[in-house]
Symmetry: C2
Subunit: 714 residues, 2 copies
Amino acid sequence: MKKLLTLTLTLLCIGFLSAQDKTYTMKDAVLGSHTNLKPDNLKQLSWIPGKHAFTKLKDKALVKVSVPGMKEENLFSLADINAQLSDVDDFKKMPSIKWFDAAHIYFKHGDVFYRGDASDGNWNFHKWVELPKGETNYYVDKEKKQLAYSKGNNLYLADADGKSLAVTDNKDDDIVSGQIVSRQEFGIDRGVFFSPKGNYLAFYRKDESQVDDYPVIDWDTVPAKNKPVKYPMAGKKSQEIWLGIYSPKTGKTVYMKTGRHTDHYLTNVTWGPKENYIYIAILERSQKQLTLNKYDVETGEKTATLFEEKDDKYVHPAEPLYFIPGHDDQFIWWSERDGFMHLYRYNTDGKLLNKVTSGDWVVNSIDGWLPQQKEIIISSSKRSPMDKTLYAVNWENGKIRPLNDTPGMHTAKVSSDGNYWIDSYSNYNIPRKIIAAKTHGKWEKELLTADNPLKEYKKPEIKELTITAADGKTPLYARMILPPDFDKNKKYPVIVYLYNGPGIQLLHHSFPESGNLWYDYMAQHGYIIFTMDGRGSSNRGLDFEQVTYRHLGTHEMEDQLKGVGYLKSLPYVDADRLGVHGWSFGGFMTTSLMLRHPGVFKVAVAGGPVIDWRMYEIMYTERYMDRPQDNPEGYAESGLLDKVENLKGKLLIIHGAQDSTVVWQHSMRFLHACIQHNVQLDYFVYPAHPHNVRGKDRVHLMQKITDYFDEFLK
Amino acid sequence: MKKLLTLTLTLLCIGFLSAQDKTYTMKDAVLGSHTNLKPDNLKQLSWIPGKHAFTKLKDKALVKVSVPGMKEENLFSLADINAQLSDVDDFKKMPSIKWFDAAHIYFKHGDVFYRGDASDGNWNFHKWVELPKGETNYYVDKEKKQLAYSKGNNLYLADADGKSLAVTDNKDDDIVSGQIVSRQEFGIDRGVFFSPKGNYLAFYRKDESQVDDYPVIDWDTVPAKNKPVKYPMAGKKSQEIWLGIYSPKTGKTVYMKTGRHTDHYLTNVTWGPKENYIYIAILERSQKQLTLNKYDVETGEKTATLFEEKDDKYVHPAEPLYFIPGHDDQFIWWSERDGFMHLYRYNTDGKLLNKVTSGDWVVNSIDGWLPQQKEIIISSSKRSPMDKTLYAVNWENGKIRPLNDTPGMHTAKVSSDGNYWIDSYSNYNIPRKIIAAKTHGKWEKELLTADNPLKEYKKPEIKELTITAADGKTPLYARMILPPDFDKNKKYPVIVYLYNGPGIQLLHHSFPESGNLWYDYMAQHGYIIFTMDGRGSSNRGLDFEQVTYRHLGTHEMEDQLKGVGYLKSLPYVDADRLGVHGWSFGGFMTTSLMLRHPGVFKVAVAGGPVIDWRMYEIMYTERYMDRPQDNPEGYAESGLLDKVENLKGKLLIIHGAQDSTVVWQHSMRFLHACIQHNVQLDYFVYPAHPHNVRGKDRVHLMQKITDYFDEFLK
């Protein structure tokens, strides 16, 4: 009986496998998730402002779908746009439509912004503003239909009719207005902040004259040309930052009186709802103290300090104030003060009204509001650090209810009034599912369930693991990807893919289960892939992250070596054939493991690695490491230039020559140190690529990495 | 009987081998020829001006040796120098002594020049001139004991007492006086020309304001710093050149009226013996025509054109005029006009008096004069292109006699009056031999016969070969180095090492026989090394070189493939394991072979390769290729950027990041082209090295290259 069952199962398996016998090409493995192997999706899925209706793209037309009736109505087609704009441009596909309001849209094509108006019921399209060639820094104000944009280092403002004027007149190239400052740290993702009613334009101004130039060579021009960037290295002089407020009505700019402009950051910039105040957090350069201030928009004077936040290690602001709809004097403040990123309700006098969320999990985003229910829609790691699920939480009593219980990675789009939402999610078993639903009520409608694009491919066996960190107590999440035809009696080489730096988590409950089709590719070619988020990585709370403070790399490696210990305990792992690969912080980890724990890994590939934190940017580095002059032993411990002689095994370093994040000098100095000590290693450079090699050239990169493991590890 | 003989020979061989059983370390192979495995030599071997006596270093003292009596006399010791100069410097070893005249010397230590005077019979040393820190551009006038040197882009002159004044006052960094111009082409190896009696100082002035900047990054400074160089690429704007004559007496500079300053070169600069005229050849930018002019030193006016030289392809001046001692109106002119580099006697009216040398061989250098016998001492390839032997040739009747018949590479030092000479030479069997002799007479004295420093090492079997070029007639010299324990029944991998560019010859009749201990090292590790000087290389005459005109690479490869054909005909060569390696032009050849004749070589290593002649310098490139705008098909044929998809086999490219000869952009653009076409190759860069990797880091380089062949070819 048992024998028969086995036979039947075997036959079933054979039948099953024969449907899953395809293997990935390298192109599939690298680009497939965004191209031929991408799960189906709905395009241009967006709520129409003020309406119980959303849009989607269907047959080259933008379709309006009303909820809950699901009535569909064609708004306009690509042909309509082309018919009206044929004299100015040729649209090959529907541009990405953005809504001012229910009757007004805008879209960008090339360097030109267009508007579409349906005030009279018919959609009329016209050219709005033409940006300088290739300019990517721009911001739209929906209230007054204005467009702020950069022209070189100056800021311009176009009105609803497309009439432009200069907001700033910086003659000195080192002064830049209206662009992102502080190198995108502290959640700074914009250089312009329109006021709620569009009457003012707040903008950052930075003076980089004290910041060192770093050379970046354009190799494609003949002769090659230096196009230096301003790069502030840890411990050195930094940007000086201002916040200006421009009034289109008066044409005047008032700079907020934030005190000295050096050695602090202006973060959390948020307009007060009535446009009379603006809130700015002053974060000391040490990043150990933050002061939330309120400034008078007309005079620039500081009118109040609401509160301070301090931490022995660092505070890390990343979100603005979220004013509560209908409550102009109340806002949500994000803080890790209690160990996990949670929401706190304050009033504008700086009084803490209540802690809205709490627990051993973190809030990831605020996605919408239900004013009637006094609920905030959030995404969070409440279910597990590997899930991002959606909740509505009452801002007064903290009562929390799930909006969709399904495990996985969810993204919410909430209608203007908060009554409806669209949830797009995936998990190990669901490539993509999109539903529309009521936020408070039973109605729900499935919009899409994507087919599994990988169903014909050999699927690796995947094990989700929990491994105890080097502290002997903290559980760490890990994943092991086994070859599809795994045989426990064989010995397999293993590649540890890692990052383990702050702000990043590699393992998510999403599709595909492996997390990356290149892992599947490698598994199909006889490798085991192992990935683990050790202490220092994101979504696990402040203690988990801050264990690395002043010692980047050290504890992270101890944790990764726990993972290695687990691997070595497995009979089917060949402990003599362990490889490691990572990029950026992961490149730092990879190189550190080869030099500070030599002999563990036989083969390593490090991409864009930090080699010496003294050469990394101020904002990030000083948060985790303090300044070099204040933590010389920490910089010495983590610095790799004087440890090259420890290298055992094969190491390939890869860098992008255009890298202005981890500058090329890291690996160039590392090479030089290796050469000086007669240490052999391998090297490759991508002359036209920045910090990452993306696009079609990524196939070349991953082939190079694969070839290296095939040559020396397999 | 025969069996016994074989046995005896075998025993003898075993005995012989046991004395030669050492193998080279990589350090031996790379640095040994200049360090631990260097044949003995005599240091500071130099004729004392006006004397029948030379110096040598012995027991840390400079010893005077009189000829023919060979009486030795201590001149001064290192201790003497230190005793007198203890307050200014500490000399660890005897500095290199240069003679003004029989009683006056000078030497340089660090940035300081010192003088030594023995007018009163005792040597007195004192500080003379201190150069700007690290300055390497300086010239000494022995007549008036003056020193010209650079300070930035300006020229300075110090008198016999060390008093300095500025000769030029260039404010613009793009104007440089007193330095080498035209990138050292056309035999230009100096920027200053003192007049015969020291009354004037002629100097080059170049204006590089029209020449493109090329970025060179100093990776050792933090942050990295761009230190651009002026790099004139083929077809683009070039340096503008002047020749100025400065009179220390008047303090005035007169610029010679050489016509326009653009698009021609000032070559062959030579003072007339009486200091009233200076001779300059005007070489058109096309390099197809040269005009030898005579200029009045006081007015700068051109007073005569002596003659012109033309060639359909190019003329290539490389030597000044050599005025014949005692004949102020006669000089020797070097020319390839009859197909080989020979000497021609002219008078200063431009009349050809006679052709001094002739034959299917070339003159390499003029080393001295025997005025009484009307003889010039020359080195030449008369014996064979692989030998450089010494002759005395009568400048009136061309009668030529050898000074030393021994085959090999000879270097002559001739006494002031021409009566004595020192010959230092080596050949396959003689590591180094130095003799002193009479130039006209029987006396000869052996000064040194160096022991064989390699006698304990396994010597590869070396075959000297002659292979017919692709034209079906020209004999090409080649060398094959077989493993020491060569077994003709085995199959060996072969590495072809090549250069094959103009002006260079790889094979010489010198020590060690292989030409390079790395070849011996590779042979000891089981490789056959093959080297051949194909058409286009030096010492074989004009036709041999000019076959490559407008098509660099094409015929050179055809010839190298003849060598490959020979290799493939050998039963012990594994035709599936052929490798190729070369640097600079040899890197161009290597990469070209991989892309234009794919499939021949399995593994290639190209160092500092030219990838596209449009990115190489004007002076060299336009000689052989004309301008890109005049020879687009030749540049297209030789350019490698659009041929990357042809690559078969493994290719490692190596470049020095400081390379200002073949700029780094060559290989960076090549990488980019490979990446864009998804072509895999390997790459390595030496961040601190220029066009070649020299010094101790060369061990790292050669290990890298060796590892690559070991990994993929062995």
